[in-house]
């Protein structure tokens, strides 16, 4: 019995031998870099005080980050990164659970395993054991990184445990989602939705929290206590070090796993609580060509990317004036911002520009995803079905590029619209022009990614996803974070985002944008030429 369990756990470990180490190293590396970076940028108490007062004065910052707990460097570190770490730990676990539970059943591989003496219960049990082990390693890695960055031992341990606890709750969420939904895609949707809901609930609790009289800390309101990420934050590592909230995490994780187990032992292999619903017997008139298909397959994710763009738009629109107000004009944040944007224009313009660079990254992501979907169509063989009809190769490629362009425009437009509305809501409608200009300025860089990844797909189709996402991560790192950690200037010039026009009213210099748009167009043409010359892969 133990033998079977061990074998199955090792099998899962082997299948994830790249994925899970990358997740854990990224999360741990993020902790380390953030700790070191924060030490360099906010070394003095005066700087930290300004930052924390800015946060407690603006619910939107607390919504994104968490409740500040004073001006100590370690407390500030937790305030800055812990919410994001919770999201990452949650996603890692729901994906892990769905990958080894629902996806296995959906593909039929689970039936192969269940036909051996491992039977029906051991494979899911081994997934939970394995996931638990991964979370223990995550907790140790995070604690180790806090410690290595010079923080104290007990706080580091509390932080690690709190994050591991978030992981275990979402392992349970992934298990329940796998029992509920018939497809791994739907189960992953439920999992991601649950993580975002947890982030949003604690965000609301923190935004509506009670700020202390000195403006240096905040007590979260009750919605934070509905969220597993909230429970982790309520341990207040380094300041209070209280493990009590994690009791909730353990109880909820156990309950979720128990529910998943009860469903599992009562259902057939391959069945689910919510059966995959029936759909239309005949296609909508809009589903009549390659473009209709590309749009149909991608609009849900484009909607999600656009919501992300809108979230940052709200952030930019509601905070721009606060940043530009005089008491911050000479603070470290001002230096930071003008460093990022080349120092031209007002502080408000600079801030809006930085926020829209992030929206631009999201837009570039949505563009890359369109080409990655094209690659998936080819690899899964549905591309063969399409290209065996009178659809031309050019028509197929252009459909996906057109959806990519639409995604870029929609993401940036949602960001701009959200910024315009939120700036009006906080009584600073004059920000609207800056926001629209900053959004338009981001279009060329995103299109450049679309064209470049399409060229990669045309030449080296199997590297599309790897090179595409890799290039985006590298460009973000070099263009946005490179200077913060002291890389030389020329490395920043490698990133397309560095060359996006800096909005400065009528004086805006559009050269970089025009050049990038030209390169994007040339790359699109190159992609269609190269694609015409190669065999269709896969199938």
């Amino acid at each position: 019995m133990m033998d079977t369990l061990l074998r199955l756990v090792l099998h899962r470990l082997r299948r994830d031998r790249l994925q899970i180490p990358i997740w854990i190293l990224s999360i741990a590396g993020f902790v380390f870099l953030a700790a070191v970076g924060l030490q360099n940028t906010f070394g003095s108490l005066a700087e930290r005080t300004v930052l924390v007062r800015l946060a407690t004065a603006n619910p939107a910052i607390m919504l994104l980050r968490g409740p500040p707990q004073g001006t100590d460097l370690d407390a500030l570190l937790i305030f800055t990164v812990f919410g994001f770490l919770g999201v990452l730990a949650g996603l890692m676990n729901t994906f892990l659970a769905v990958r080894h539970l629902r996806a296995e059943e959906e593909s039929g591989r689970a039936s192969l395993i269940s036909a051996t003496p491992a039977a029906r219960v051991f494979p899911p049990l081994s997934t939970l054991v394995y996931g638990f082990g991964v979370d223990v390693v995550l907790a140790l890695a995070v604690a180790g990184c806090f410690l290595a960055a010079g923080q104290d031992l007990s706080g580091s341990i509390v932080a690690g445990l709190a994050l591991g606890a978030v992981g275990i709750v979402f392992l349970g969420v992934g298990a329940v989602a796998s029992e509920l939904m018939a497809s791994s895609r739907a189960a992953n949707g439920v999992g991601v939705g649950a993580v975002l809901l947890a982030y949003l609930l604690r965000g609301l609790g923190d935004a509506f929290g009670t700020v202390s009289a000195d403006g240096l800390s905040a007590e979260s309101a009750w919605p934070s206590w509905l969220s597993p990420i909230g429970w982790a934050q309520q341990t207040h590592p380094f300041t209070e070090n209280t493990l009590a909230p994690l009791i909730l995490s353990v109880i909820v994780a156990a309950a979720l796993m128990g529910v998943a187990g009860l469903v599992l032992v009562r259902r057939d292999s391959g069945a689910s609580v919510l059966a995959s619903g029936a759909g239309r017997e005949a296609a909508d008139p809009r589903l009549s060509g390659a473009f209709g298909l590309a749009w149909r397959l991608q609009w849900p994710s484009i909607l999600a990317w656009s919501l992300g763009g809108a979230l940052f738009g709200v952030f930019g629109g509601s905070l721009g004036t606060a940043i530009g107000s005089s008491d911050l004009g000479n603070g470290p944040i001002a230096d930071e911002l003008s460093g990022l944007t080349g120092g031209t224009g007002s502080l408000t313009e600079a801030f809006v520009s930085v926020v829209f660079t992030i929206v631009g990254v999201i837009a570039a992501g949505s563009a890359i995803q369109s080409v990655v979907r094209l690659r998936q169509e080819e690899a899964l063989g549905t591309g063969h079905l399409l290209l065996a009809t009178p659809l031309s190769r050019l028509g197929w490629l252009v459909s996906y590029l057109a959806v990519g362009v639409m995604a870029v425009v929609l993401v940036l437009a949602s960001g701009a619209a959200a910024a315009v509305v939120s700036s009006a809501a906080v009584g600073a409608p004059e920000l609207a022009d800056d926001a629209v200009l900053a959004a338009v300025a981001q279009v060329p860089a995103a299109l450049l990614f679309l064209g470049a990844v399409a060229t990669v797909w045309a030449l080296l189709p199997h590297l599309t996803a790897g090179l595409g996402w890799g290039a985006l991560i590298l460009a973000v790192f070099l263009g946005i974070f490179g200077q913060l950690i002291g890389l030389p200037d020329w490395t920043a010039d490698l990133s397309p985002f560095t060359h996006s026009p800096q909005p400065a009213g009528a004086d805006t210099d559009w050269t970089g944008g025009i050049v990038m748009a030209g390169i994007a167009l040339a790359a699109g043409v190159a992609a269609s030429v190269f694609f015409r010359r190669r065999d269709i892969a896969g199938g």
Binding site: E106, A182, S183, R185, S276, G277, A278, G279, R280, E281, A282, A283, D284, L287, S288, G289, A290, G292, L293, R296, L297, L380, G381, T382, H384, L385, L386, L387, A388, T389, P390, L391, S392, R393, D535, I536, G539
Partner: protein
Amino acid sequence: MSTVISARDLRKYYGRVHALDGLDLEVAAGDIHGFLGPNGAGKSTTIRILLGLARATSGSVSVYGRDPWTDAVPLHSRMAYVPGGVPLWPTLTGGEAIDLLCRLRGIQDPAAYVARRAHLIEAFQFDPSRKGHTYSTGNRQKVALIAALAVPAGLYLLDEPTSGLDPVMEAVFRREISAAVADGSTVVLSSHILSEVEALCDRVSIIRAGKIVETGTLADLRHLTRTDVAFAREGLSDDDLRAIPGSPDLVFDGTRAHFTADSDELVDVLPALAALRVRGLTITPPSLEELFLSHYGGEETEAAPRTRRQARVHRAK
């Protein structure tokens, strides 16, 4: 009869792996051409080249007199394709996938299409309202078959089209394909299911290791193997048996005697058997299966490496 498909000395190399190694193929208009071969012989590669999805390394190929690589779009408006093991879009229903593919192929007469689609969905007992990821292998196959048959095509390229279909549905498939050919269509049916090829095809090409090793009508091909003649041994002397023409390979199997004869010798054999008044006589024509096995029976080809691994071994020699 005009030629629909013509391939000469077609070669397709993937590195050192020779998927096609000098393939010749002729398909005449109105034929159902069986394309027989074991897994990995090059059937799918040939069909991918005929569709312009892959380009031949060398050799010439034409479909309706045009190059499928450069003229794919105009050619595809006259063709329909059914792969073996049909991939579907997980979030699209079967009905949506059928409509999408047919709209891409070009629906000339919407009313006729609706009627034809309804007829095929009924005939194949297919539920078009389920999502792509919930269909079994056979049901996914039905999506491609219905999409191929719902809009009439001049040329059907069917690559193991019945994988996963039950025998009842295979019969429906045969009926619908026969009807399409009666309306003047040409069919290339790649398969390793011999009964299906025997039941449907006028002509057969047998492919092995990227080459056509035998081609002709089923009657032509039957000439290549001998007919089995068997009867009860009881009451016959050795001299009687030796007197039968064409009986040097005579063997005894329990109470029965067996020998084989070429199909054109058979007319000389029958009077001799009648004169001996043999009992329990059976004459079995060669099946495609025997023909097939005689071409694939055991021995390995030295000509070209079939796999990357073989290519490495080949290179090492």
